[in-house]
Symmetry: none
Subunit: 288 residues, 2 copies
DNA sequence: TATGGATTGGAATTATTATTTCATATTGAC
DNA sequence: GTCAATATGAAATAATAATTCCAATCCATA
């Protein structure tokens, strides 16, 4: 009968690599038109992922029905399920880290030892880093540097989970001899501190969902004084974004309820050092 | 008329970045459900690329018709053409990812400006992470967890560049409802704070070369009171090591004179969460 | 609180797309 | 060269999905 290789015991390839291997293996024994579309599929996997049966068939120079027969020969029950494999491939390209992380999370939850927890945090950090290095908006980055480099005083504003980043920024700015003011919580003098800022200064504000109300409030207040703000936050919908002159969206993976700070840290340090460098350059030029 | 912004002169965004910018720009003025799907779209672009109108609408918690209205507000004539933009993005991303990465590397190596600084920090963080996940001493890790889990109060001790880590530990411990005391500098009350610690408590001390004298001094003092110490430091010759019951050697790469904290952070968070978990387990057993 | 306009939910409709079917062509064995 | 088995093309059909429409609801404004 015409179903070709779709016998019972045969495993249907569910990931792209297996599928690819299967196709290459059988290539010799495939009928002409089927082979034609097999070649096309391996050469243009993206087209298979997104096209319709008709459009793909046309591009490959065969009939839609042939495309379906091809899928069936491989053990799928139709074009649609074959297409899934090609789509999955595109997704995974971007999310292999995410999957690993998900696996680790599951492992940690079922109580698989403490090492799993550690691995989870390492994976969350790695994911966040590779993500930010892919998505960093360079024009924004340059703009932020320029903005901060000409500030008289840089105010650093963050609470709670973002606070460690702020404290490191403040430390680094101090080391680089850049005047700065860390606005922490506690003391209750924040309103006064914020009041001193002028449009000649600048702010780095950091906040992630759920956004600490104090951070938002202070950012709003300071932006109303005309002080330019660079925000580091986690979503385009963050309340910080609307107050900021420049803002960065940093997608930190979290693990066990705690956010990795690696990406934010890397960005914060890069900003800080770049500002230091830009100031040195400018200083040199002025003297010359 | 119901077409919303779909007036003649308006440009339909054809690439993802423009689309994204458009959405962000209008987000204030969008009706609730439309805004809901707008947020979903930016957060889950892959789902938009692959899903059907019905499946996406369900995931985002709206009706399919809302999804279409969303597309129309943006100037598309329907969901299908909106989806094209999301698909295009995936194609491009995948095809050019390797090239882009190679370009970035080249650029970073020839010292091209500020992006290179950023890449440097990311690289330092990644290196540190892969390093620590290779070299973590598991028996020490377990021992440290056991030691901290039975402490009444956990004191967290770090200054200067290590302080951000300490503050995150304190934050996390607080979240996990584990009694802790962060020993910062400034106030000058450290000696008194340290004086309260007993052998039933425990200390996490963090310090890297050049070791802050205050950290060393306080660690010494507290160890003389018989309080067990877990140290995170950078070398076997660290002065912290001699006072500690358990210590970890973390080799953080540095860049431009600033140490990456990623590996230390990951270790610190893993310790914290593992301690929290161990306590929950122990508590449960006691009750049973 | 009443009123008009905008927004939303849900079903009905239309369109698109996958799949099936069947007639025809091709291939290989005898 | 004939026959049977397999492969292919093209159109019909079935399934699925997008879109539209209308009633219900929400919201701002008078």
């Amino acid at each position: 009968m015409g179903l070709g290789g779709a016998t019972m015991d045969e495993r249907v390839p569910r990931d792209f690599e297996t599928l690819r291997a299967t196709i290459l293996e059988r290539r010799q024994s495939l009928p002409k038109r089927i082979a034609q579309i097999a070649a096309y599929a391996l050469d243009n996997p993206d087209d298979i992922a997104f096209g319709t049966a008709a459009s793909i068939a046309a591009s490959a120079g065969v009939q839609p029905s042939t495309l379906i027969r091809f899928a069936q020969q491989l053990g799928f029950d139709g074009f649609t399920s074959l297409q899934q494999v090609f789509r999955e491939r595109l997704r995974e390209r971007n999310s292999s880290y995410d999957e690993r992380l998900a696996a680790l999370r599951a492992k940690a939850e079922e109580g698989a030892g403490h090492r799993a927890i550690f691995d989870g945090f390492v994976a969350a950090a790695s994911t966040s880093l590779s993500d930010i290095s892919r998505t960093l908006n360079e024009p924004h980055f340059e703009e932020a540097i320029a903005l901060l480099a000409k500030a008289e005083t840089i105010y650093v504003l963050a609470k709670r989970r973002s606070y460690p980043v702020a404290s490191y920024i403040a430390y680094a700015l101090g080391k680089l001899k850049i005047r700065n003011q860390l606005i922490e919580s506690a003391a209750g003098l924040n309103a006064e501190m914020v009041g001193f800022a002028t449009p000649n200064d600048a702010v780095i504000a950091i906040s992630f969902s759920p956004y600490a109300p104090a951070t938002i409030e202070e950012t709003r207040a300071i932006s109303e004084q005309g002080v330019p703000i660079v925000a580091i936050t986690d979503s385009s919908f963050s309340p910080l974004a609307q107050f900021a002159k420049v803002w960065f969206e940093v997608a930190e993976a979290d693990f066990a309820g705690f956010r990795s700070l690696s990406a934010t840290m890397a960005l914060a340090m890069a900003l800080t050092v770049a500002v230091g460098e830009k100031r040195r350059d400018t200083g040199r030029k002025r003297k010359a």
